[in-house]
């Protein structure tokens, strides 16, 4: 690893004519330089390869659904023939009832408050499975704020995020979590500003989540038309919330 500066200069296109000539000639005779350059290129490609990460996420979701389906199958088969028949009849009746209830719930229009509450519950699952592993990578203050948030101490967490944002005004991560605190403190105006700030940034890991919670805030504050247009956008994207967004669109009055 002795060519780091030269390689970066080369990749940044900052070499002058003679440096470039020398670099190219060294590439012909120094296999280690070639390997290092390949590694730098691979790092750049990998960092940009969001489609791979997205595809893995989709596979994980498909596997989760598959596991849930498998569990249902396993629990519906047991015992001898009679028992099996009885189980089948019972299961069919149950399935029909569930199907009926499902159809009813799918197509029944719900109030904005009902939709908001129903969809907010899934947040805690999202949080524990998706965000928590990133703790190790965060600044200590931010980490402390998130821990307070996880413990349900939303006011304290929000104070920490505010303080952090005072020193790091462009930090979308803190702004996103602060938005979530505002949601749980029923301060939807502030939550909307926080999520909009995240979405206005040119890049943030949290944009997908911010647009989802922003839509929920618009639902809660009865800005139904704005929420609908945002949900349409989410449902048309490759977002992990697209199915949920489509479902809500069917239920909104």
């Amino acid at each position: 690893m002795k060519h780091l500066d030269r390689i970066q200069k080369y990749l940044d296109g900052k070499m002058n004519e003679s440096e470039l000539k020398k670099f190219r000639s060294d590439l012909q005779k120094d296999p280690e330089l070639v390997e290092e350059l390949d590694l730098h290129r691979s790092v750049n490609e990998t960092v940009l390869s969001t489609d791979e990460i997205r595809f893995r996420k989709k596979l994980e979701e498909a596997y989760k659904t598959y596991k849930i389906d498998g569990h249902k199958e396993n629990t519906s088969v047991s015992g001898n023939r009679t028992k099996l028949k009885r189980t089948i009849v019972f299961s069919s009746a149950l399935m029909i009832t569930l199907l009926f209830l499902f159809i009813l719930s799918e197509f029944r229009k719900q109030s904005n408050d009902e939709i908001f509450e129903a969809n907010l519950i899934s947040f805690s699952q999202d949080f524990t499975s998706r965000f928590q592993p990133e703790f190790a990578n965060q600044d200590q203050d931010l980490q402390e704020g998130i821990k307070l948030f996880v413990d349900g101490k939303y006011s304290d967490a929000s104070r920490v995020f505010h303080q952090f944002l005072g020193q790091n005004p462009d930090n979308t991560e803190a702004s996103f979590y602060n938005g979530l605190c505002m949601v749980f403190l029923n301060e939807f105006g502030n939550a909307i500003s926080a999520f909009e700030f995240v979405l206005a940034a040119p890049y943030s890991y949290y944009q997908e989540y911010a647009s989802w919670y922003l839509a929920l805030c618009y639902i809660k504050t009865n800005n139904t038309e704005v929420a609908k247009s945002l949900l349409k956008e989410i449902s048309g994207n490759d977002s992990s919330f697209s199915d949920k967004a489509r479902r809500i669109l069917r239920k909104l009055r």
Partner: protein, 201 residues
Amino acid sequence: MNKYEIPELIDALKKEDNRVLLDIYRIHFPEARHYIMANSGNVFDAEDIFQDAMLLIYLKIKRNSLQINSGFGSYLGGIIRFLWLKELERKRKYFGKELQLEDSINDHSDLLEDYIRMEKRKLILEHFLELGSDCQKLIHLFVNETPVDRITSLMGFSTDQYTRNRRKVCKERLVRAIWENPRFKELKNEAFRQDTKVPRW
């Protein structure tokens, strides 16, 4: 997978169709799990290997290099066996036994190349995610060719020179960690064994 014609399946995978992904799991995962569990693996190995096999197929589709001459099931099964044998080989549980490839995989060298590429990307991503969130963002913004002054303001740094220095520190930390990882050396050697040319991945 008789439910879909191969071109239809390729198209669906390209579009990352959730319904088709679920069908693939329903139809092919039980067999993969059975194979891996019968060969010194557990269900978690089966999950990982199945996901890697699907990713490998996806990457091949993206590069227009996928050629399936038999059914999708036997093609996927062949890749799963290949990946599992590589994993066993890696875990040193499989010393001395020749790697047997399925007949349905007609592009053996290409598959090994894809495997090496995928493993290296996994390794890079693993190290990238170990960096602090500021370093991750900084590298991402630079790779995305965001202007330095914009990065300085986005990250809340004081000067562009400081931003460049931070990028240098972050990138060096990342590249060095990968370079020194024994798995990276293993993969480099594997690529070298496969092709005496300098590896291009």
